[in-house]
Symmetry: C2
Subunit: 258 residues, 2 copies
């Protein structure tokens, strides 16, 4: 009998999120599932790890090929704890998501979903992060599930290059057809922050971060373009942040003697 | 009279950290300083932003060319709030640090210091993160200050390419000589996590993340090598995480029809 691949599953919207349930549904039957997810929502946590407090976890569910554990920490904590304490072995695959909301363009930098994916990648695990471009809690994940399942099977079959993981974003189509995959690069974008300034009952100022995202780079090889045109964007992502193209400028600068 | 450049300064060890004081000392006289730093230590916060609670800040210090504000949030919150609410203009330069501890190699991914730097970069501000490879609170920053000041002046003179910031790490030399700058790439490394497993008084398990870092890639063009050989490592860093070299593999994979 062939052993099923072991799959570590996490997210950043918490173990109670519908997007996580959709990801579990997509992976069911493909492997032995270890769901290790935050007990509370962790949106915007980026690559945070918990170093000033201890971590705790508690089992939620368990049967033959599927167990679930809720963790008191961040998505990256879940990956570390999942691999080292809960599974006590390196998983064959790491899946993160399905996030409620886009992680395309520069959102990869803020995303707990993609931080967990990059953490798996740094640990040598083939890793894929999935996001649906719909922030609502009751987003419709149904039409995404067959594509997610297809990508899981393809990554298990083909593997991923060393040091590379995937950032998969699925457009929020309303009745239109998905056009399939588009392998693309991270397009430029920016958040226009509009802090919501308020006064508390003691007349002291406080501020909510809010804002509107603008994925303004729309070249046909960007994820911004793919999503605007009803393609599923697939961006190969790496954790080597070196800007090789800037080496000469910086060398010239540091050698400048006044 | 020439206007001084405006400089936004932040860090992740909090507004009370000696490393921040060293950075302020290095920048004094060069520009108008806006110090906007977390009121509490934020180590390991990565690129986290605060979206589930409001932000508050309070002034700490102010004179003609130097004001300081403590913020209830993360380093990235400090950059957003600093630019949009406290300065109400785009600064000419962003400085982050001096961090107590190395942010070389893959530590750039976990680092609040470098997250603030990348946030500045995404906002179009020339941005530099500084770290001293000594985690102790009473680390000696004295010998680092002239180099930090020199880099600040060089970046103001030469600028930085669009979408590129700097990750500057200063080795912890004990009596030896610093050999100057080495412009280099992010070397490979890994954390060997060794969770510290304990039981609370009610006999329930809890876990502290601990571990030992190993910057194992030691080619002469890496930051690992530079620091081990008493050079200040200067890595040009970008927020485009696209793994361009993996495009062909991923295109082949997604086109695979069973």
């Amino acid at each position: 009998m062939k052993t099923l691949p072991s799959i570590l599953i996490t997210n950043d919207d918490s173990i109670h999120a519908p997007g996580l349930r959709a990801l579990i549904e997509a992976a069911t039957g493909i492997g032995e599932l270890f769901v290790v997810a935050p007990e509370n929502p962790q949106s915007g946590m980026g690559h945070a790890i918990t170093v000033t407090a201890p971590l705790r976890f508690h089992p939620i569910f368990s049967d033959n090929a599927h167990q679930e554990v809720a963790v008191s920490g961040t998505p990256v904590d879940c990956v570390k704890l999942g691999e080292k304490i809960i599974m006590r072995k390196r998983p064959d695959l790491l899946l993160s998501g399905i996030n409620h909301g886009s992680n395309a363009s520069i959102n990869v930098m803020y995303s707990g979903t993609m931080a967990a994916t990059l953490e798996g990648c740094m640990s040598g695990i083939p890793s894929v992060g999935f996001s649906l471009c719909d922030y609502s809690h009751d987003a419709n994940f149904e039409y995404a599930i067959p594509y997610v399942r297809d990508i899981i099977q393809k990554v298990l079959k083909h593997g991923l290059p060393d040091g590379v993981c995937l950032n998969v974003n699925i457009p929020a189509v309303k009745g239109e057809e998905l056009k399939g995959y588009k392998v693309c690069r991270q397009g430029l974008g920016s958040w226009k922050e509009e802090f919501d300034e308020r006064k508390d009952p003691r007349q002291r100022d406080y501020f909510w971060i809010t804002g509107r995202f603008n994925g303004y780079e729309m070249d046909e090889d960007t994820d911004n373009w793919a999503l605007a045109n009803n393609y599923i964007s697939v961006v190969p992502v790496k954790f080597d942040l070196t800007a090789h193209q800037a080496m000469d400028h910086i060398k010239k600068m540091t050698n400048d003697v006044e």
